[in-house]
C-alpha cells in the first residue's frame, strides 16, 4: 500500500478521484436535504458535462499536444444524436436512466466514429494547421446540423439535410427542426448520471495517460522525431487519443443536450470550443485535476458575476487575462514567488516551526 502511495502518478490520480467523489457526495447530500438554491441545482449537470469535455480535450491538447478548436462539434454530434435515440427508444425502454445511458453511449459512438473518419486525413497535419482544420470541422458540423430535419410520423422515421422545411404527415413530430434545433426534448439528465460520466471520463483518460501507450503519446508530444526513431507508431497513438477524446465529448454532449428542453446547433459553435479550451489551458496542460477544477470555477464565475450586470462579461475578460498573466508570465511568477517565500517565512516565524525541505 505504502509503495503504491509513494508512486507520484498513482497518488495524484487518487487525489483526483477523491476530490470528485467528495464533491459529489457533498453536493448530492445538500441536494437531497434541499439546501441548494435553484440556480445551484441548475449548474450541476452542465458542470459535469463541461468537466468531461475539458478532461477529454486535455487528453488531446495537454497530453498529445494537438491544438483542437472543434471540440464543440463532437459535443453537438453527441447532443443531437442522443436526443434522437432517446426519443426513438421511448416505447422500447421504460427506464429513464437506461434510456439516457443508451443515448449517451450512442452519441459517444457516433462522435467517436466521426472522429475516426476525419482523423484519417486530419492527423497528417500538425500544430496550427491541425487547429484550423478542427475549427473548420466544427463549423461544418454546426452548418449541417443547422439544416438537419429529423422527425417521426405514422410512416416512420424521416431524416433529411434540407434547406427548406421537411414536411411530415399529419400528427408527426419533429425531433430536430433545422434552425429551431431540437425542441421538446425530454429532460433525462440528472446529477448522478453526470457524476458517473465524470468518473468514466477520468477513468478512461487517466488510465490512458498512465499506460504504456500514454507514455508513448507523451514521448510523441515532447519530441516526435525522437519517438519515431525508437519505433513508436505516432499516427496510431494520435488517432487513439483523438477518437477517445471525441467519444467522451459526444457522451458529454448527449448529457448536456438532455438537460435542456430545447437547444440549437448554434450552441455548438466556435465560442463553445474556445471556452472548453480555456478550461484546459487555465487548469494546466496535462493536469487532469486542474481541468476538473477550472471547468467548475470558470463555469460558475460568469454566473456568479450576474450581479454586476453590464460589466459582467467585461470583468470576466479581465479576470481571464489576469489569471493567464499570473499563472504563465515568467516575470510575474518571479514576483509571486518572492511574496510566497515571504509569507512562508512569516508563517514559520509565527508558528515557531522550523522550515522543512519541500519533498517535490
Amino acid at each position: 500500500m505504502k509503495k503504491i502511495l509513494n508512486n507520484k502518478n498513482t497518488r495524484t490520480n487518487l487525489i483526483t478521484y477523491l476530490v470528485v467523489i467528495v464533491a459529489f457526495v457533498i453536493m448530492q447530500t445538500l441536494y437531497s436535504l434541499d439546501m441548494l438554491s435553484n440556480s445551484m441545482k441548475g449548474y450541476l449537470v452542465p458542470i459535469c458535462a463541461y468537466v468531461s469535455l475539458a478532461v477529454s480535450l486535455n487528453l488531446l491538447v495537454g497530453v498529445c499536444g494537438e491544438l483542437s478548436l472543434g471540440h464543440a462539434g463532437f459535443m453537438g454530434i453527441g447532443a443531437f444524436s442522443g436526443v434522437v435515440i432517446a426519443a426513438l427508444l421511448k416505447d422500447v425502454i421504460a427506464s429513464d436512466v437506461l434510456r439516457l445511458l443508451c443515448a449517451m453511449v450512442f452519441g459517444g459512438l457516433l462522435a467517436g466514429a466521426l472522429g475516426f473518419l476525419i482523423g484519417i486525413p486530419v492527423l497528417r497535419l500538425r500544430g496550427d494547421y491541425l487547429a484550423i482544420v478542427t475549427l473548420a470541422f466544427g463549423e461544418i458540423v454546426k452548418n449541417l446540423v443547422g439544416n438537419l430535419y429529423v422527425g417521426i410520423d405514422s410512416d416512420g422515421f424521416h431524416m433529411a439535410i434540407s434547406t427548406s422545411r421537411m414536411e411530415l404527415l399529419e400528427g408527426g413530430t419533429y425531433l430536430i427542426a433545422g434552425p429551431k434545433g431540437a425542441t421538446g426534448v425530454e429532460k433525462l439528465a440528472s446529477f448522478p448520471m453526470g457524476f458517473v460520466l465524470v468518473l468514466l471520463t477520468l477513468f478512461v483518460v487517466l488510465n490512458l495517460i498512465n499506460s504504456k501507450e500514454g507514455r508513448a503519446i507523451k514521448a510523441v508530444r515532447d519530441n516526435r522525431i525522437a519517438a519515431e526513431s525508437v519505433g513508436i507508431n505516432v499516427t496510431a497513438f494520435r488517432m487513439k487519443a483523438f477518437v477517445v477524446s471525441a467519444f467522451l465529448a459526444g457522451m458529454a454532449g448527449a448529457l448536456f443536450g438532455m438537460n435542456y428542453s430545447s437547444f440549437t446547433a448554434s450552441k455548438f459553435n466556435f465560442n463553445t470550443s474556445i471556452n472548453i479550451l480555456v478550461f484546459v489551458v487555465l487548469g494546466g496542460m496535462g493536469n487532469i485535476l486542474g481541468s476538473v477544477i477550472s471547468a467548475t470555477a470558470l463555469y460558475v464565475l460568469p454566473e456568479a458575476m450576474r450581479g454586476l450586470e453590464d460589466f459582467r462579461m467585461l470583468l470576466y475578460a479581465v479576470v481571464l487575462i489576469l489569471v493567464m498573466l499570473f499563472t504563465w508570465s515568467p516575470k510575474v511568477k518571479e514576483k509571486t514567488e518572492v511574496v510566497s517565500e515571504w509569507v512562508k517565512g512569516l508563517f514559520y516565524k509565527l508558528t515557531g516551526k522550523k522550515e522543512v525541505g519541500v519533498n517535490e
Binding site: S39, T163, S262, T264, A297, V300, A304, E309, V323, E360
Partner: protein, 383 residues
C-alpha cells in the same frame, strides 16, 4: 500545485459571490416580483436591452402612481440569446422569488425556458419570442407578439391585396427561428393566393456579414418586390447594397423591420415606400405613445422599437390582470399563475401595440396587424 491552489481559491471566490448574490436577494418586499431574461450582451443585445428598458419604464410608471395598491419589482438577467444561459438566468430569478416571468426575448431561448415555467407554474408572458412552440408549451405561456406563421400569412395577404402582379423575391435568415417561421407562414399562404415568387434565398447567422450575393440573385431573377422577413439590422445592409447596384424594388417587411429608420447613420431615404407590418408606431400622436417615446428617449437616447413597446405592454397587461384578479404581492407564484391565466383568456387589453387585444386558450394573441408605409421618414398607415 500552486496553480491548483489558485484555481481552488478562484472557485471559492466564485461560490462565495454566488452565496452573496442569493442572500441579499432574499429581501421579502411587498412588491410583485417580475423577472425577465434576454440578451443584454453579445450580438443580439440590441433586442434584449430594448425590452429591459421598456419594462423598466412601465414598472416605474406603475410604482409612481399614488392610487396603485400593487407595487412591482423588476429584475433582468442576461441570457445572450442562448438556451443554456437563459435557463441559468431563469433559475437565478427563481431564487430571487420571481412571481411573474416576462421573457424571454428570443425564440430559441424561450423554447428552453417555457417548459420549465410550465413545470414550476410561473406565469410566462413573452414580449417578443414569436415561435409558435412558445405558446403551445403549456396553458400558462402567453405571447404579446404575433406568432410567426400568422404574421407571415398576413404579409402574404398584404402583398396579394396591394401588389397582386408583383414578381416576389424573398431573403430570410435560415438560422433564425423568427425569420424562418415567418418565411414558412408566408410561403404556404403565397401558394394559396398564387403569388408569383421568383426567387427565394436565405442567409445564416454566420454569413450575414455579406448579403450582396442574395440581393444580386433577386435582381437577376427579375424580382420587383422584395419580401424581407428579417430584422432591421440586416435589412439596412440589403437596402444599402441594392441602392448601390441601382436596384430599387418595392420592399415589404414584418415587425422585425421596425427600427430601421432609427439606425444611426442610415440614409432613411433608401427605405422610402417600404411597407411593413408593425404593431407599434413611435410617431403615433396619441398621448400614451408620446409619453412612452419621450421617457424611452430620455432613458436610452434612442427611439423605441416594437420590442420596447411590446415589453411595456406586457407589464401593463400583467398589472391589469393582477389587479382585476385581486392578486397580492404575498401570493404564491402558482396561485398568481392560475389567476392570471383566467384573466388573460377572458380580458381585453388596450396598449401601445394595439387596441382590444385578446388571448386564446393556447396563449396566442389576437390583435390587428397594422400595415404602415414609410413616407417622408415616418410611418403612414396604409390604406
Amino acid at each position: 500545485m500552486k496553480k491548483l491552489i489558485a484555481m481552488c481559491l478562484a472557485l471559492v471566490m466564485a461560490l462565495s459571490l454566488l452565496a452573496g448574490c442569493s442572500s441579499h436577494s432574499g429581501s421579502d418586499s411587498d412588491a410583485l416580483k417580475i423577472g425577465m431574461t434576454g440578451p443584454l450582451t453579445g450580438g443580439n443585445a440590441v433586442y434584449g436591452t430594448a425590452v429591459q428598458a421598456g419594462i423598466e419604464i412601465a414598472v416605474e410608471e406603475i410604482n409612481a402612481d399614488p392610487n396603485n395598491t400593487l407595487k412591482l419589482e423588476f429584475q433582468p438577467q442576461d441570457d445572450e440569446a442562448d438556451g443554456e444561459k437563459a435557463v441559468s438566468g431563469y433559475n437565478v430569478l427563481k431564487d430571487w422569488g420571481m412571481q411573474v416571468f416576462i421573457g424571454t426575448v428570443t425564440s430559441s431561448a424561450c423554447n428552453a425556458v417555457a417548459p420549465l415555467t410550465v413545470e414550476d407554474e410561473i406565469f410566462l408572458l413573452t414580449p417578443s419570442a414569436t415561435a409558435a412552440e412558445v405558446a403551445t408549451a403549456g396553458s400558462s405561456t402567453f405571447q404579446m407578439c404575433f406568432t410567426d406563421p400568422n404574421q407571415g400569412a398576413s404579409a402574404a395577404e398584404v402583398i396579394a391585396n396591394n401588389w397582386p402582379e408583383a414578381a416576389i423575391g424573398i431573403v430570410y435568415d435560415a438560422s433564425d427561428d423568427y425569420s424562418s417561421g415567418l418565411y414558412d407562414g408566408f410561403k404556404n399562404k403565397a401558394a394559396e393566393l398564387s403569388l408569383n415568387v421568383v426567387c427565394e434565398t436565405s442567409f445564416t447567422g454566420d454569413t450575414k456579414s455579406d448579403l450582396s450575393t442574395q440581393v444580386t440573385m433577386c435582381k437577376d431573377a427579375g424580382a420587383d418586390l422584395m419580401f424581407l422577413p428579417i430584422y432591421y439590422t440586416e435589412a439596412s445592409y440589403i437596402l444599402n447594397y441594392a441602392s448601390r447596384i441601382d436596384y430599387a424594388p418595392q420592399y415589404v417587411g414584418c415587425d422585425g423591420m421596425d427600427g430601421i429608420l432609427n439606425v444611426e447613420g442610415f440614409d432613411t431615404s433608401l427605405a422610402e415606400g417600404m411597407a411593413l407590418l408593425t404593431p407599434f408606431d413611435a410617431n403615433a400622436t396619441d398621448e400614451a405613445t408620446q409619453s412612452f417615446v419621450a421617457k424611452y428617449t430620455e432613458k436610452t437616447g434612442e427611439v423605441p422599437t416594437q420590442f420596447a413597446a411590446d415589453a411595456y405592454d406586457c407589464v401593463y397587461a400583467v398589472y391589469q390582470a393582477a389587479v382585476a384578479a385581486g392578486v397580492k404581492a404575498s401570493d404564491e407564484p402558482a396561485d398568481i399563475c392560475a389567476a392570471l391565466i383566467e384573466q388573460f383568456t377572458s380580458m381585453t387589453f388596450d396598449g401601445l401595440t394595439g387596441k382590444g387585444m385578446t388571448w386564446d386558450s393556447e396563449g396566442m394573441i389576437s390583435k390587428a396587424p397594422a400595415v404602415v408605409v414609410i413616407d417622408g421618414g415616418i410611418y403612414v398607415p396604409m390604406d
